[in-house]
């Protein structure tokens, strides 16, 4: 297995190189540049050209690419044109915010969806099943940004139960306050994300449970007189988790992607918002760094998913 993992990682090297060239070229192919957007009667065009030159933006793409790669190997992703600070520092700050939010949201989602899926599968065709199915379909139908806007309006503005902007209160000073305030700020978007993001897990789990219920090993266990509770806990649940485990790798690495909608509505400075802004500002260094990170995370995600699969399902072994 270790050999396979190593091989997979080695294959990732050319993949990442190709990805980086593509990303680099596509970013450069966008019309405009990081400085044209800031034209105003006081900005001197000559100075903007000077800055373009200084940043090597007039060089041929392969030269620019080469410089970028050389810097990359020094752990330097460049300087953001828009924020005028190192991209690594910028991304690190945003990634922390995003991890808080998406991490908590994911925990809530699984905490909600796993019991619901098992419960629905167990009571297939009965009232609880119908209720859960209708619930998941309804939440699936409503566009998420509508939920966010409604959520912030009702719980943030009308009732005033939750903060409506940012990731932390301006008053938080002590360590405990900081943690508490951060948690308070992600609570509403995370709950909304969890309540309305359960459909995939619930549906997969439900159908797996229904399948497993009818399988031979369950029948055998029942025939042996194993209590129902134990059958669900030890036999059905573990086996039904397989398809969900297959996604888990993506989910974990996808934590960093952030959510453009959530971050926009809640003015939450995370990775999603950073990505969108960097595109509109033509902040090349940030765009390329982010896409590269996302690409690598995706590759890692598939690997992780495979590893998780072998852990949950002893029948599967990667050779």
């Amino acid at each position: 297995m270790w050999k396979t993992i190593l091989r997979r990682i080695l294959i990732m090297v050319p993949e990442v190189i190709i990805l980086s060239i593509l990303v680099f070229l596509l970013a450069k192919a966008m019309p405009g540049d990081p400085f044209t957007g800031s034209i105003n009667p006081k900005a001197d065009p000559a100075q903007l050209h000077h800055l373009m030159k200084l940043n090597g933006l007039y060089d041929p793409w392969y030269q620019q690419y080469w410089h970028w790669v050389v810097h990359l190997f020094h752990g330097n992703l460049g300087q953001s044109y828009q924020y005028q600070e190192p991209v690594t520092r910028l991304i690190a700050g945003r990634a922390t915010n995003t991890l808080w939010l998406t991490g908590f949201s994911m925990i809530l989602t699984y905490a909600l969806a796993l019991p619901m899926g098992v419960f629905a599968g167990r009571h297939e065709g009965k009232l609880p099943d119908t209720v859960i199915r209708v619930y998941t379909y309804v939440t699936y139908c409503i566009p998420f940004f509508v939920i966010l806007v409604l959520g912030i309006w009702i719980f943030g503005y009308v009732f005033g139960w939750f903060p409506t902007t940012g990731s932390i209160s301006t008053n938080a000073t002590t360590w405990l306050q900081t943690i508490g305030s951060r948690f308070y700020h992600i609570l509403l978007p995370a709950i909304l994300g969890a309540l309305f993001g359960t459909v995939n897990i619930v549906q997969y789990l439900r159908s797996e449970v229904i399948d497993a219920k009818r399988s031979d090993y369950v029948r055998t266990a029942r025939a042996k007189g194993v209590p129902r509770k134990d059958i669900y806990r030890h036999h059905i649940f573990r086996n039904s988790l397989l398809p969900i485990a297959a996604f888990a790798g993506y989910s974990i690495t996808g934590l960093l992607n952030g959510s453009i909608f959530t971050e926009t509505v809640f003015s939450y400075p995370g990775m999603g918002l950073l990505f969108v802004n960097s595109i509109s500002y033509r902040d090349y260094t940030v765009i390329t760094a982010l896409v590269l990170i996302y690409g690598i995370l995706n590759l890692l995600g598939t690997l992780l998913s495979d590893i998780i699969l072998t852990l949950v399902d002893p029948r599967i072994r990667i050779e």
Binding site: P31, S38, I152, T164, G166, I168, T170, I279
Partner: protein
């Protein structure tokens, strides 16, 4: 949806950018009487009759910064390039040097005084002896000079360098990296004294005004930041995490991209502020109305739209305060090209839009009064000139501009020989005339406005279509227009923000690369030069020339005025002393609260 927001944010940046750079202390600008065409009249201050009290002032003044992206966090105006940074760090005073009157003219009484000497070509900046940074350090002559080094440095990240800075002796050599210092700065009392003399090659009347392009209006703490290499300054902790200020407040805490909090600065030279705490939070423009309606903030800085006004104008306990913005929307016509060899704009007599009657007809055909009324909700109105009314002195209220007149538009076209052949008119030589209208993607409201423009032009028989078939993304739009020569766009709708010193040479000059329509004429050059010629030291002469220029530009119709707007905000009724007049030099110290909570 996301895409629209994006472009909007970029446009907002574009529209407000130079506000950050100009010399006034607040990003909103003001005057009280000149908004001639506006259907809604706003006051530039909120005269609160209630009494402020100590208990209330011990509370927190809550300000919302309406912006769709996190702020950058650069406290130094020499390095910042966005209005949002300027807004969220405003209570610190940003190191602004000079006080100003309602016409943005520099007056005595601020952090420093200015005296211009036309005979010796010098400007003397005298810092008040008791001026201190918020860490107790003295503000020195070197602090006045250092921003010029930062801005002019060869490897700087600053976008603020203007060709006019080369008028300072030695600046060109320093900017080219040939000199270590700028020779045009001398210090009669030494670098740690309080007097600095700037030697120019020649003087211009614009130097009397804040926001002019020859002088920088802010100080930087030289001793505090001297060890940071200039290219790394914008990323340094001295600028971002632990900045120091000269203004009435000092930074208590900054949460990157989200919020800033402020407490009074005991080292401030002037009137101590009354409110003990200020917090400024970034709020998405998508829910700013809800945030105000649920009384989370006292007032808003950053841009509010006409649609927000519709939502907020009748809100209980809030008063709408505003004044004409330092910006205007315009229609540009493509009349030639930019000769990159000579560095000058050249008009092409054969250009599609070269016929003055055609341009005038297109402007008369538009129903801008109704469009602005319907979509601006009173917060914008048809512009009559190319100078916003915030400049009470220079603004030419007498000009009619181009009100709707379909009959006249048709007449003009008939006279010029654009005959109707079927549905549309042809060129005088009988060839078909197809006009490409360049527009930037935006909100649905903007889209509706564009459609109305096209419809009006069709009415007078002109075949006008979107350039490229649909509105363009902002970057593509400006990339197309800024090309030295282009035939993609014949007429376009754009916006300019203007500095608090409004000489428009950088937009309409013969050698201006921002002169994207390439309009050039001897008369225009003469008027632009006269604005800062020797005679223009006389204010009434300068005013006369500015007015003449507006009339002339209307006659030429090479650039058509589209709309003016307000910079405005709702202000909670517990706030006392709020004013957006440029003459209010003690904005932060004058603010007070009359009750503990937002009402």
């Amino acid at each position: 949806m996301v895409k629209n927001k994006l472009v909007l944010s970029a446009m907002a940046v574009l529209a407000t950018l130079s506000l950050a750079a100009c010399g006034n202390k607040k990003s909103s600008a003001s005057s009280s009487s000149a908004e001639a065409g506006a259907s809604v009249k706003l006051l530039d201050n909120y005269n609160n009759p209630a009494k402020a009290n100590a208990a209330a002032n011990n509370g927190t003044l809550k300000i919302a910064e309406a912006n769709s992206s996190p702020f950058q966090g650069i406290t130094d105006p020499a390095l910042a390039s966005n209005a949002e940074d300027s807004d969220v760090f405003a209570p610190g005073g940003e190191g602004a040097l000079f006080n100003q009157d309602k016409n943005y003219k520099i007056i005595n009484g601020g952090l420093a005084n200015l005296s211009l000497n036309r005979k010796n070509n010098t400007a003397t900046v005298t810092v008040r002896p008791n001026a201190k940074w918020s860490n107790g350090m003295k503000v020195t002559a070197r602090d006045v000079e250092y921003p010029y080094e930062v801005i002019g440095n060869k490897a700087t990240t600053s976008q603020q360098f203007s060709a006019d800075f080369n008028d300072i002796k030695g600046m060109a050599a320093y900017h080219a990296g040939k000199a270590k210092t700028i020779s045009g700065f001398t210090y009669p009392k030494g670098q740690s004294g309080n007097v600095v003399v700037i030697h120019f090659n020649h003087m211009t009347p614009s130097m009397k005004f804040n926001g002019n392009s020859f002088m920088w209006g802010y100080v930087e703490p030289y001793e505090y930041i001297k060890n940071v290499p200039i290219p790394k300054l914008a990323a340094s902790k001295q600028i971002r995490k632990d900045p120091i200020f000269t203004g009435p407040y000092k930074l208590n805490k900054v949460v990157e991209g989200e919020s800033t909090t402020w407490v009074p600065n005991p080292d401030f030279y002037g009137k101590q502020p009354q409110i003990k705490h200020i917090s400024i939070n970034v709020v998405s423009p998508n829910n700013i109305d809800k945030a105000i309606q649920s009384k989370k903030y006292d007032y808003v800085s950053g841009g509010l739209q006409g649609t927000d006004y519709k939502q907020l104008k009748n809100l209980k306990n809030y008063h709408i305060v505003g004044s004409p913005a330092l910006s205007y929307d315009y229609f540009g016509f493509n009349l030639g090209h930019f000769d990159t060899k000579t560095g000058e704009n050249v008009m092409d007599p054969k250009a599609k839009m070269a016929n003055k009657n055609l341009r005038k007809a297109m402007l008369y055909a538009l129903n801008l009064d109704q469009v602005t009324k319907k979509f601006g909700y009173g917060m914008s109105w048809r512009a009559n000139t190319l100078l916003p009314p915030v400049f009470t002195n220079y603004y030419n209220a007498q000009e009619k501009g181009y009100p709707l007149n379909i009959k006249k538009a048709n007449q003009l076209l008939d006279q010029a020989g654009f005959k109707k052949k079927g549905q549309y008119r042809t060129l005088p030589n009988g060839k078909p005339l197809k006009i490409n209208f360049g527009a930037m993607t935006g909100t649905s409201v903007q889209m509706a406005e564009y459609q109305d423009f096209l419809q009006q032009w069709h009415k007078i028989g002109l075949d006008v279509q979107f350039a490229g078939g649909k509105p363009m993304e902002m970057n593509s739009f400006y990339a197309a227009l800024q090309a030295p020569s282009q035939n993609k766009i014949d007429v376009w709708s754009g916006a300019w923000s203007v500095s608090s010193e409004p000489t428009p040479t950088q937009i309409y000059g013969q050698d201006a690369t921002f002169n994207m329509g390439h309009f050039v004429s001897a008369e225009n050059t003469k008027l632009l030069n006269e604005m800062n010629g020797n005679k223009a030291w006389n204010n009434s002469y300068r005013t006369k020339i500015f007015k003449q220029w507006q009339t002339y530009m209307n006659q030429q119709a090479a650039v058509g005025p589209e709309s003016f707007g307000y910079a405005w905000s709702p202000v909670n009724q517990r706030v006392k002393g709020y004013s957006v007049s440029p003459a209010d030099n003690n904005f932060w110290s004058n603010l007070a609260l009359t009750s503990k909570n937002i009402q």
